[in-house]
């Protein structure tokens, strides 16, 4: 098309239309490719591993029975991790040598060793000194402590990301350091780290599969158990994978919805006047 023969507004409309056309063509291609990938995987499975509807019908509900436990373990662990991370971040930022040393050791040690080792330590190590814990407690304890160490650094960075002028304005108004932290710095730091907590929760959903090693009957344990017994591990692991996958998609969607709502909430509150 010859741009010179168009008026300015016609040109703008034509450009916008062409942009739209290009975008919709792109997203069509994207969807086609995604569908093709899924179809290919589906066909591969159907052709090579004669899918038995009866086996699927019995295995899938059994494995699905672990979903609630997986979610409960992940939820409790992320809660424990959040509490530990708040304490850890305060310790890492503390001028007290004692608090700082304890928090620094915690972060260093729990980030510096494998999560699987930590899970086993709770389950296999502690009984040797007479501490026998329920597998559920082992899983939540190990996951919570480990994620707490990572989140400590996250929270510390979140607190430090709040401009120093905020603390100064608060104490200049006569607030004590503690009040300034609680009422001015912490709420802003929380906003900063909230998306990251969501990401960690989704990662936790998947890492909670390690709880299967301490006999917790969550998704992966069930998949392995029934798969070994029937010599159909490939099928059961795929089923478990699909469940994890759906859960992470669902929670990611929930997370972005929450974030959008929070942003919208800010705007609405602001407009209310």
């Amino acid at each position: 098309m010859n741009a010179g023969s168009l008026s300015q507004s016609e040109l703008a409309a034509a450009v916008a239309q062409s942009d739209r056309r290009r975008e919709s063509a792109w997203s069509l291609r994207f969807r086609i490719i995604t569908t093709l990938i899924l179809l290919a995987i589906g066909t591969f499975i159907a052709v090579y591993f004669n899918v038995e509807a009866t086996f699927l019908a019995s295995a899938a509900p059994f494995i699905a029975g672990g979903i609630s436990l997986t979610i409960v373990v992940a939820l409790l662990s992320i809660m424990l991790a959040t509490i530990l991370a708040v304490l850890g971040a305060l310790g890492r930022l503390s001028r007290s040598a004692t608090a700082n040393a304890i928090a620094s050791f915690y972060v260093s040690f729990f980030r510096g060793t494998p999560l699987l080792l930590q899970v086993l330590f709770w389950y296999l190590g502690l009984p040797q000194v007479g501490i026998v814990l329920d597998p559920f407690v082992c899983a939540v304890g190990a996951l919570g402590m480990n994620y707490g160490a990572y989140m400590t650094e996250l929270f510390r960075a979140g607190i430090q990301a709040v401009p120093v002028g905020q603390r100064e304005a608060a104490v200049a108004l006569g607030m004590s350091e503690q009040t300034a932290f609680r009422r001015v710095v912490a709420p802003q730091a929380f906003r900063i780290v909230l998306p990251a907590i969501g990401n960690d929760f989704i990662a936790m959903l998947k890492d909670s599969a390690l709880a299967s090693t301490v006999t917790l009957h969550e998704i992966l344990w069930r998949a392995q158990n029934i798969g070994r017994r029937e010599f159909k591990s490939l099928q059961t692991l795929l089923i478990a994978a699909v469940f994890y996958w759906i859960m992470t998609i669902a929670f990611s969607a929930l997370q972005s919805w929450l974030e959008r709502r929070m942003a919208a909430g800010d705007r609405n509150q602001a407009v209310k006047a």
Binding site: A172, L173, R191, A270, A273
Partner: protein
């Protein structure tokens, strides 16, 4: 632990500069509301403040001028101990805090500094409004938390001051939706809601778009004329000329010239003040 060392500034009595006389709005017989005595500050090897003193009577507006890096902001921030001075003494409305660089972490001292800060409202260059609170929330947060004021009462006071700065209609807005000039006016209302004895302004218009400077200066001039006690660190010569009872010129951590604006700005005696003001004229300031 060593014994507390007698510091020079804290040990010697406050002395008036010959040019420090109560301004026109000061009630007869009123004593000073703020005295800062020989404030010194070292940042490592850097001697930022070299024993600067200031006396302010209730109802006065004083301006502190000086090049950037001369120590004027550090001096202002020492008055409410946002910077802990190395030496010296600050008294505001009867509350005294001495510099005590060897014992900065005591609980009693923190409490005394808090008492001091409650009497000195501060307005920052970067506004520092609380972004998670509405305009009214920004104003009432400290009165409720610090003074234990009832929400209703705090809101009534805040609304009075928001009206004064012309932003009562923005009462429930969030800071992110305000212009820079509006934000700074809210910051002034927030400081006023604590009903301080003296307001400290740290270059309040330096971060503003030039077209927004006027609305903030107008609010400040109104406050000055109605007898608020104000200490203003600024580069706004016209404001200093119009609103100040006294002008202090700081150079390398010392006040080298003190006097009424007609003297310090129009007919400076000190060579350093002259050089500074000459630069301003070349930048196009008329006065």
């Amino acid at each position: 632990m060593s014994k507390p060392i007698d510091l020079r500034g804290a040990a010697e009595p406050h002395q008036l500069h010959p040019a420090e006389k109560p301004g026109v709005l000061v009630k007869a017989g009123a004593g000073p509301v703020l005295q800062a005595t020989r404030i010194a500050k070292w940042f490592g090897d850097n001697h930022v403040l070299r024993g600067a003193s200031i006396t302010v009577w209730p109802g006065e507006t004083v301006c502190i001028l000086g090049r950037s890096g001369s120590g004027k902001s550090t001096f202002l921030r020492s008055l409410n101990f946002l910077e802990d001075p190395t030496d010296g003494r600050v008294e505001i409305d009867g509350v005294v805090v001495n510099a005590d660089p060897f014992h900065t972490e005591g609980k009693d001292r923190a409490e005394r500094i808090r008492e001091l800060r409650m009497r000195a409202g501060m307005v920052f260059q970067e506004f520092n409004l609380f972004p998670h609170l509405s305009v009214i929330g920004n104003c009432i947060e400290a009165p409720i938390l610090v003074k234990g004021m009832a929400r209703k009462e705090a809101e009534a006071i805040a609304e009075k001051y928001l009206e004064k700065v012309g932003l009562l209609d923005k009462r429930d807005e969030y800071p992110s939706r305000l212009s820079g000039g509006q934000r700074q006016r809210v910051a002034i209302a927030r400081a006023l809601t604590m009903q301080p004895k003296v307001l400290l302004f740290d270059e309040p218009t330096s971060a503003l778009d030039p077209t927004l400077v006027g609305e903030v200066l107008k609010v400040m001039a109104d406050l000055a004329h109605e007898g608020r006690t104000m200490i203003v660190v600024t580069h706004e010569m016209d404001f200093a000329h119009e609103a100040a009872d006294r002008v202090y010129y700081m150079d390398q951590g010392e006040f080298v010239e003190v006097g009424p604006p007609e003297q310090v700005i129009d007919a400076p005696q000190d060579q350093r003040t002259r050089d500074f003001l000459a630069r301003f004229r070349t930048l196009g300031t008329k006065k």
